[in-house]
């Protein structure tokens, strides 16, 4: 099987289309960042409190909002999370309500606001720790255990928590869910002291404003350093202009990917930054493969114009470029579709980025080389007669000898 047999597409003649395409996407992203959604930052960078809650049945957002309002959390952001079948909700508090002195307060307020429907005097088994359950069982001693009561009840408490967290994925719907794992008297005793709320907490992120700013800085620095690192490596391996062209292409990819997050109003988290850095590396890969071929062809076809060499090199590597991108895209798509909610942002960045990264090595980096050479040629024409390139002069001498 073969997709491309000796392709011969004149990519460089389409450079104006490429330029238009890149401009449309970059400008749309930048406009959205400036005037529409801004850069939607996740709790990692924004700071604040984010509690991910799983309900036993489809949650009513309005009811949750009413509960939060009653608890005085008027600015709480409430949104559904994941697919509808998940019954999950994200409840977020803004940074100003997450003061560093009372980092934990928001979480406690959210949980107690959701627990208000619990019958009075009973504890919430869905949000109780194994230690709480053990202490309760020890005080009630439903099994009339003797000397090793502490250990036995500890085991039981851990079984209950395991049943809740690992088997029922976080929430018990009814006390009967425990029937199979604890003895009858224990269940009866639990029924007296505990009730089940309709939710369980799956995940809590509390980020103080100071850390948020720190992480923002680190993320920016990381992307800059990584671009600078690539520039230096390519300068060392090729020439400065190759490095510049590759870095411009990578920057273009980063800009468009961040722009896509802004357009889609998806939040940028720490893992998204990791994805963007991976993209920088990946897009660089693609560019280098083309550059390597250009370098090889320049040596082989010294007479040809750079534009022709570049075109030829892109065509020669096209099959590889498309295959690799296709395969990486396939794996990233698997990640996006099956990797779960936690990785959704991460894989979204990769899905967009791999498409753009492949495009940019053909449509941005390579044409830049040609444009630079044209510009140099024009400039030297205007001023002084063109000096022969160092390498070819050496070759001529050798040819004479």
């Amino acid at each position: 099987m073969e997709f491309f047999r000796n392709p011969n597409i004149d990519f460089l003649s389409k450079k104006w289309y490429f330029l238009a395409f890149s401009l449309v996407f970059s400008v749309a992203g930048v406009l959205s960042m400036l005037f529409w959604h801004g850069i939607p930052l996740g709790v990692d960078f924004r700071g604040g409190t984010l509690v991910r809650v799983k309900f036993t049945s489809s949650p009513d957002i309005n009811e949750i909002r009413a509960l939060m309002d009653r608890a005085g959390l008027h600015s709480a952001r409430i949104q559904r999370f994941g697919t509808a079948a998940n019954d999950e909700v994200l409840i977020g508090l803004a940074e100003k309500e997450t003061s560093e002195a009372a980092l934990d307060r928001g979480r406690a307020q959210i949980i107690s606001a959701l627990e208000t429907k619990l019958p009075p005097g009973k504890q919430d088994l869905n949000n109780a720790s194994a230690q709480t359950i053990q202490a309760y069982l020890l005080s009630q001693d439903p099994m009339h255990l003797g000397t090793d009561a502490s250990r036995r009840y500890q085991d039981m408490a851990q079984t209950i928590v395991h049943q809740r967290d690992a088997v029922q994925s976080g929430v018990l719907k009814s006390m009967d869910d425990l029937k199979t794992v604890v003895p009858e008297p224990v269940l009866a005793s639990l029924n007296q002291g505990f009730a089940l709320s309709n939710f369980g907490v799956r995940n809590v992120d509390v980020v103080g404003p100071q850390v948020g700013k720190q992480l923002q800085n680190q993320a920016k620095l990381a992307i800059l350093y990584s671009l600078a690192g690539m520039l230096v490596y390519l300068w060392f391996r090729f020439e400065l202009i190759y490095g510049v062209a590759a870095v411009v292409a990578c920057f273009h990819d980063t800009l468009i990917t961040v722009g896509a997050f802004s357009l889609a109003d998806k939040e940028i988290s720490l893992t998204v930054i990791a994805a963007i850095l991976t993209l920088v590396g990946y897009s660089m890969n693609d560019t280098i493969v083309v550059f390597d071929r250009i370098r090889e062809n320049i040596k082989l076809l010294r007479r040809d114009k750079l534009a022709d060499i570049v075109n030829r090199s892109i065509n020669q590597t096209l099959s590889r470029t498309v295959l690799t991108s296709g395969l990486t895209f396939l794996t990233v798509l698997a990640l996006y579709l099956f990797g779960g909610e936690v990785l959704r942002g991460f894989s979204f960045a990769l899905v967009i980025g791999i498409l753009i990264g492949t495009y940019s090595s053909i449509a941005v980096a390579a044409p830049m080389l040609v444009a630079y050479q044209d510009w140099q040629a024009r400039r030297s024409n205007r001023r002084t007669p063109p000096p022969a390139p160092a390498e070819s002069r050496r070759e001529k001498v050798r040819a004479k000898a």
Binding site: Q131, G170, V206, I288, S319
Partner: protein, 539 residues
């Protein structure tokens, strides 16, 4: 040639065995469960996969500097008094931000050399600078200041580790975080009740036993007026709770307490939860030999005076010294039983050199971790199968070659994780998937080049030779750039992101071996078996 190939095959098998050992160790049984258990023992899961709490703490290092500066002030005052040199005031103008800056006022110019002498002998860590109008500034030497702050962070780490160890948390991570921002990273896998652990970690637990001069007063005003408007020298007003037997709500009261302490938490040998004669929970403690001697000397000379137990600058208890006390005592402060247990534990683990507060707190519930593992593994398997299948369809015989290389790549990557003790996180699993996608790139590069060479009329052996030779340079370049970005991620990232950088780097390193060396050996083997001129199966 054949001989050479044999040795290379032996090398590959040996490498493979080593990394399989890295993944599983020596499993107890070869059943599916036995292997899974062995795998989990070798490969550490990150907090996002097994559930737990990730905290970042800020050490208020200025607290430690402040303590040092206050001692320095006392020493300068003592020295000036000993030499009968008059001074107006010695204080810190900005204790919150520059606690090490001490301003001495009103020492006449005649005595400036004395002051210089005092600072250089009594305060070797400080510099003296003279200003206008008999004012002098004493500030800590920059190198000493940095050292003091770093020491505070190290002590805090040590203390927190002691406390967490005593709570029985398994495999905690406690280490300095970031670059010189005096932060500590604490990771507590699978902690059941993070709120309690956090409270225990944060408690400063500065225990001091000091002389009490007076009190309780119901307000600071009352305390001042009871002492004719001026606090006696060497004393300070500290808050405490009224501990009367009158019942009713405990309310805040004030005590006049000595500035210097008879013994501190550093002099403790042991502390444990106990009960008083009325059965109420309290904490009893024993002093070290040295501390006991000092305490005995102090109580012996102060029989009839009052003694205060001060914890974190709050008075817990005031009692009259009935007789000389040698090496033990009791803290009684209306505690619950759990509180006495925690307090005893905190006292045993030592005081924090500076207060801390939390900057970041992320808790992943165990249910979410289990889901994440399931989703991650599912995505990895699907992505991997898709790639393997595609390579077979597209490259036929050579596809098998690439698939074998990919599977080896995965085994070596997991083996690396097992050997290095690096942590596998959810983004780390994503890194594994990406490695599959990006690792196959090397094979594609090589195969496409071989096809090209074949089209140009080369014989299969020379096409393979040329294909590998040309692709090798490109492969090195592409791997270096990706590893550069992974390395930067490793430096800047924390927790899950770091795990991603690790798997990506390991995966790509392994890929250099599998896609280039292993693949080549397989090609050579196939070519060896073929008749001269027979075609190569590469799609």
């Amino acid at each position: 040639m054949k001989q050479n190939l044999l040795w290379k095959s032996v090398l590959i098998v040996a490498v493979l065995l080593v990394f399989v050992y890295g993944i599983f160790g020596i499993p107890s049984s070869l059943s599916g469960q036995g292997l899974a258990a062995a795998l989990l023992q070798r490969i550490h899961l990150g907090l996002d996969l097994k559930g737990g709490t990730h905290l970042i703490l800020q050490v208020q290092v200025n607290d430690a500097v402040n303590v040092d500066a206050q001692q320095a002030i006392e020493r300068v005052k003592d020295a000036l008094r000993r030499r009968n040199i008059a001074f107006a005031d010695i204080s810190q103008p900005d204790p919150a931000n520059n606690p090490d800056h001490i301003v001495v006022k009103g020492v006449s110019a005649d005595h400036s050399s004395d002051l210089r002498d005092i600072v250089s002998t009594d305060l070797p860590e400080y510099n003296l600078a003279s200003g206008a109008q008999d004012t002098y500034t004493i500030s800590m030497k920059p190198s000493q200041l940095t050292e003091l702050k770093n020491r505070a962070v190290q002590q805090a780490i040590e203390t927190i580790r002691n406390r967490i160890d005593q709570l029985g948390v398994s495999e905690p991570v406690i280490e300095e975080h970031g670059l010189g921002q005096y932060q500590i990273l604490v990771q507590l896998p699978g902690v059941d009740d993070p709120a309690r652990v956090k409270e225990i970690m944060q408690s400063t637990a500065m225990l001091e036993i000091r002389q009490a001069f007076g009190g309780p007063y119901s307000s600071e005003q009352e305390a001042l007026s009871a002492n004719n408007g001026v606090l006696p020298p060497g004393s300070v007003l500290l808050p405490g709770r009224s501990i009367g037997d009158s019942g009713g709500e405990p309310h805040q009261v004030w005590y006049l307490i000595s500035r210097s302490s008879a013994v501190t938490g550093r002099d403790l040998r042991d502390a444990s939860a106990s009960r008083d004669e009325n059965g109420r929970p309290d904490v009893s403690f024993q002093l070290t030999n040295e501390g006991g001697r000092r305490f005995a000397a102090f109580t012996g000379s102060h029989v009839g005076d009052k003694l205060a137990v001060v914890l974190d600058n709050k008075v817990q208890e005031v009692a009259t010294i009935q007789e000389q006390i040698h090496d033990s005592g009791v803290i009684n402060g209306r505690f619950s039983e759990q509180e006495t247990k925690d307090l005893a534990m905190i006292l045993r683990s030592g005081a924090l050199p500076a207060s801390i507060h939390y900057l970041e707190d992320r808790t992943v519930g165990p249910s979410l971790g289990a889901d994440s593992i399931r989703d991650g593994v599912r995505a990895a398997v699907i992505g991997m199968l898709a790639v393997l299948l595609f390579m077979l369809v597209y490259y036929h015989g050579a596809g098998i070659n690439a698939d074998v290389a990919l599977i080896f790549n995965l085994i070596i990557l997991l083996g690396f994780l097992g050997f290095s003790g690096a942590t596998l996180t959810l983004p780390g699993i994503a890194g594994v998937i990406l490695t599959v996608g990006m690792g196959v790139d090397s094979n594609v590069l090589i195969f496409e080049r071989i096809r090209e060479e074949l089209r140009n009329g080369k014989t299969p052996p020379s096409a393979v030779e040329q294909g590998f030779a040309h692709a090798w340079i490109t492969i090195v370049d592409t791997h270096v750039t990706t590893i550069v970005s992974a390395f930067i991620l490793f430096i800047f990232g924390t927790g899950p992101v770091k795990g991603f950088a690790v798997t990506l780097t390991f995966g790509l390193l392994a890929n250099l071996f599998t896609a280039v060396f292993v693949s080549r050996v397989i090609f050579d083997y196939v070519l060896n078996r073929k008749q001269r001129g027979e075609a190569l199966s590469i799609g």
